[in-house]
């Protein structure tokens, strides 16, 4: 049945499937940015070396998962929507280079921070982690914001990109809307980070850390709200970029609100997502639960799906050009050939299997919480 569907699917169906799959990977990445959020909390919540060790080692068992999801997000976009990959990475050069830079320095920091002979000292590696969790996530948010506000590029008849702003993508961070998306993601990541740590650590002997983490959940959640509010207030009445019946890109009033109304699944994902994020926070703050990460995490995934869906589905140009409307990218004009999408769909059948073993390993490694005696003193040989 699946083979039949893949072989007989219409080009547009496969393009939509792949936008959905990329959205799933992107949304899972947003959930997994609890690692980045946790990195920026380090100084605030961990006052002693032991507490720092607990936080770093708890995050350190997950950082590669986040990193890999980002790499897959890039790879999936390259394979399924190569025109987006070429246009955005080659065009909005500096924004991507800085994001990459922040992930390069993250990748060594867990392993090298405490190792003797690390040249730079623990503080510098902690600084790298903070940079990754703050600037890195802020810029990713700003880049996502351009799905709605548009970018400065033109494509010629051979689809080669010319960027018309000399800031090469950094101009995205100077838009209040894009900046708000970025700051929302930063504070949401911090909220998720605190929720994850509350779930992952055994707080015997580290009770103060637990209290600081609970406070951090509440504070960062509150700080995320104005930015979320601003994004929602702006996005709903915004002039969006639609595809007309003859395939031209046109400005459409209330486009993103229309997308929510015309595609109820997106509306449901948005509302349910936000509700679950709030529920996770309230469970943690009011009922002193430790499972808030699952609710807020799932909420973040649903929120991400709604955002990516609003950008790309319902005849919307997901990577619009502000300077030349007809250069804008849609999931229909930016995708790979039908053959490549079919091949990729076969491979995508492995995704549930991958998710299953990731979940199994997560469960079997974390069923016992991380204890203080595991990261300090005797028997702490294998730690970050």
């Amino acid at each position: 049945m699946i083979a039949n569907w893949i072989n007989n699917a219409q080009y547009a169906q496969l393009q939509e499937l792949w936008w959905f799959l990329c959205s799933v990977v992107g949304s899972l990445f947003l959930f997994l940015t609890f690692v980045q959020g946790g990195q920026t909390l380090l100084w605030q919540v961990a006052k002693t070396e032991e507490e720092k060790s607990l936080v770093i080692n708890s995050l350190g068992r997950k950082w590669e998962l986040t990193f890999t999801t980002l790499v897959l997000f890039g790879g999936a976009l390259f394979a399924a929507f190569p025109k987006f990959y070429a246009t955005s990475f080659g065009g909005a050069y500096w924004v991507w280079i800085l994001i990459l830079f922040s992930f390069i320095v993250q990748a060594v920091s867990y392993e090298y921070r405490k190792k003797p002979g690390n040249i730079l000292g623990a503080r510098v590696y902690e600084g790298f982690l903070f940079f990754n969790g703050s600037v890195g996530i802020l810029l990713i948010g700003a880049a996502v914001g351009t799905f709605f506000t548009g970018s400065n590029f033109t494509l010629n008849e051979y689809n080669f990109v010319t960027w018309t702003s000399s800031l090469r993508g950094l101009e995205a961070a100077f838009s209040l809307f894009n900046l708000s998306v970025g700051l929302f993601l930063v504070f949401n990541a911090r909220t998720l980070g605190a929720l994850y740590l509350l779930n992952n650590i055994d707080f015997h002997g580290a009770g103060e850390l637990e209290e600081r983490l609970r406070t951090a959940v509440w504070t960062n959640f509150k700080l995320s709200l104005p930015f979320l509010g601003w994004v929602l207030i702006q996005i709903l009445p915004m002039d969006g970029f639609g595809i007309s019946d003859n395939g031209e890109i046109v400005r459409v009033t209330w486009k993103y609100l229309l997308n929510l109304v015309q595609v109820p699944a997106l509306f449901l994902a948005l509302v349910a997502g936000l509700a679950l994020v709030v529920a996770g926070v309230l469970l943690t703050v009011r009922s002193r639960a430790r499972c808030g990460i699952w609710s807020s995490g799932l909420g973040t995934v649903l929120f991400g799906l709604a955002v990516f869906g609003m950008a790309g589905f319902n005849n919307t140009a997901f990577y619009p050009s502000k300077v030349d409307l007809q250069s804008s990218l849609t999931i229909y004009n930016a995708s790979s050939s039908i053959y490549t999408l079919q091949v990729m769909t076969w491979v995508a059948l492995l995704i549930p299997f991958v998710l299953a073993y990731v979940a199994y390993v997560w469960w079997s490694m974390d069923s016992r919480k991380l204890r203080l005696d595991e990261v300090s003193g005797e028997g702490s040989a294998e730690v970050y």
Partner: protein, 511 residues
């Protein structure tokens, strides 16, 4: 329009890719190879329950972890650099090239990332068997990722299973199996992974020799050497076999590269292989200088290597640049002419489509299709541009081959004295073993220089020159990021080496 760009910018972008790729390759082969050896050590520990083997496994695992982190750090930039610095390339071949990268993520990176945490932190958290399983999964995951990135690289060397679509102005995939199972991909993967295992074996031998010379951790060092020598010797045999296959594939699909790394200007039947030679770096194609200051050739061996039968013709650089009618070889000059026709017809086709001139479009398309195989040559200006840097290719190839011949002898010596039980007395061998890891790295770097410098000026062999593959960036921008990465990677490399040295000097017990 498709046009050639400022050569300075292209060369900085080239330099940046070379920098990031070579830095990445300092760490990757060790990861690829040592995971198998660690999995083997770990298996012995689980089967015997011996604390000594556990300590040994943990020690090599620790060094692996230090190396792995920086491998990941230098790897992410490579994936995205295709987009940032080579965006025309990303568009023109993304339909084919993107798939292996995405598949690499799905089937390989998650295996590595997920089980890496279990391998390191699972000692008291999961069952012994699941822990061992995880170590094997890291080895399999790492090497699976090599499969896919090498499939992608092999496709650039031998672009099979695709065709150019004039409407989208890009190459599109026609046959996935052709891309994945191309003989170039198979030989590239087997040669790369076996030589990585060889490098990892020498890494273990070099460090163990240091312990023997210092008189520390004697038991662990001896055991490590024994296993590493067996692995290394087997790997050497594979490296030899797959290297022969790789050279054969180059001869079939990239004759210019073969001619360059042998410094062969005039093609001949029963061409000899240079056993030893000093190449003349000032020699240019078309001039009368002797290509070599001095050379010793083994008669007939190059023909045998390239064509697997004696008496056949191996084309030289001059044949490929200026053509050779007797052997039926079309020269680059003629290919350039045809390529320029293809580019012009493509533009005419696009224009005719725009104006709705169906007849004109069909005529232009027919002529385009005729000249399509030479499309890439249309972007070159002179036939001499089709020649890669000969001296660099020659030197890199010969350094690789000489070192590849030396390594099995080293493994045999270590095995022999391990077997006789007199390894401890052989100080000379321990001293000889010390620098072996550096030589292994030299061989690896040389191998990639042959593969990548030897295929210049092409990003995609015969179809897309590097000058067209670039992004639309200023030279200053690329220079800035070049130095950003050069400085960052150098600092991280120094930190890595310093941490590694410290851990080695701490040794297995206390670490």
């Amino acid at each position: 329009m498709i046009e050639n760009m400022d050569p300075t910018m292209v060369n900085w972008a080239r330099a940046q890719f070379a920098l990031t790729a070579l830095y990445h390759w300092i760490f990757v082969p060790l990861t690829l190879g040592i995971t198998w050896i660690i999995a083997f050590y770990h298996t012995i520990y689980v089967r015997t329950g011996s604390e000594e083997w556990k300590r040994l496994t943990k020690f090599w695992m620790k060094l692996f972890g230090i190396n792995f982190a920086i491998g990941v750090a230098t790897g992410i930039i490579l994936e995205f650099e295709f987009g940032t610095n080579w965006s025309n390339y990303s568009w023109m071949v993304g339909d084919i090239f993107g798939a292996p990268l995405a598949i690499e993520g799905i089937v390989a990176f998650f295996l590595e990332a997920t089980f890496f945490a279990v391998m390191f932190f699972g000692w008291n958290r999961v069952s012994k068997k699941f822990h061992l399983f995880s170590t094997w999964m890291v080895a399999i995951g790492s090497n699976m990722s090599a499969v896919w990135i090498l499939v992608a690289n092999a496709w650039m060397q031998y672009p099979t299973g695709q065709s150019f679509n004039p409407d989208t102005a890009r190459f599109e995939m026609q046959n996935f199996a052709d891309v994945v199972l191309s003989p170039v991909a198979v030989s590239k993967f087997t040669h790369t992974t076996s030589s990585s295992m060889l490098l990892a074996s020498l890494f273990i031998i070099s460090i163990s020799c240091w312990y023997l010379l210092k008189g520390r951790h004697i038991q662990m060092a001896k055991r490590s050497i024994l296993v590493a020598s067996i692995f290394g010797l087997l790997a050497s045999a594979m490296v030899g076999l797959t290297g022969d296959e790789a050279a054969f594939e180059v001869a079939q699909h990239q004759p210019m590269k073969l001619a360059a790394f042998e410094g062969l200007y005039h093609g001949e039947k029963n061409a000899g292989l240079v056993a030893f030679g000093v190449i003349n770096p000032d020699k240019k194609v078309g001039d009368n200088q002797d290509p070599f200051h001095f050379e010793v050739r083994i008669p007939g061996l190059l023909t045998l290597l390239a064509n697997r039968s004696l008496g056949t013709f191996v084309p030289g650089i001059n044949d490929l640049v200026y053509g050779n009618k007797d052997e039926g070889i079309m020269g680059a000059a003629e290919k350039i002419k045809k390529g320029k026709v293809a580019i012009a017809r493509l533009a005419e086709y696009k224009q005719a489509k725009k104006t709705g001139d169906a007849q004109g479009a069909a005529a232009a398309l027919a002529s385009f299709n005729e000249n399509k195989p030479y499309l890439g040559y249309g972007f070159l200006n002179t036939p001499e541009e089709a020649v890669p840097p000969v001296a660099t290719s020659f030197n890199a190839f010969h350094i690789m081959v000489v070192l590849g011949t030396l390594f099995p002898l080293v493994f045999i010596a270590f095995l022999y004295f391990s077997w006789k039980g007199t390894l401890l007395e052989q100080k000379w061998l321990q001293v000889l073993g010390l620098p072996m890891i550096l030589l292994a790295f030299a061989a690896h770097m040389a191998g990639w220089i042959v593969a990548e410098v030897g295929r210049q000026p092409w990003t995609i062999q015969d179809l897309l020159p590097v000058t067209v593959a670039r992004s639309n960036l200023t030279t200053g921008t690329v220079q800035t990021t070049f130095f950003m990465f050069a400085v960052l990677f150098t600092i991280l490399l120094i930190a890595e080496l310093s941490i590694m040295a410290k851990q080695i000097s701490i040794g297995p017990e206390e670490g």
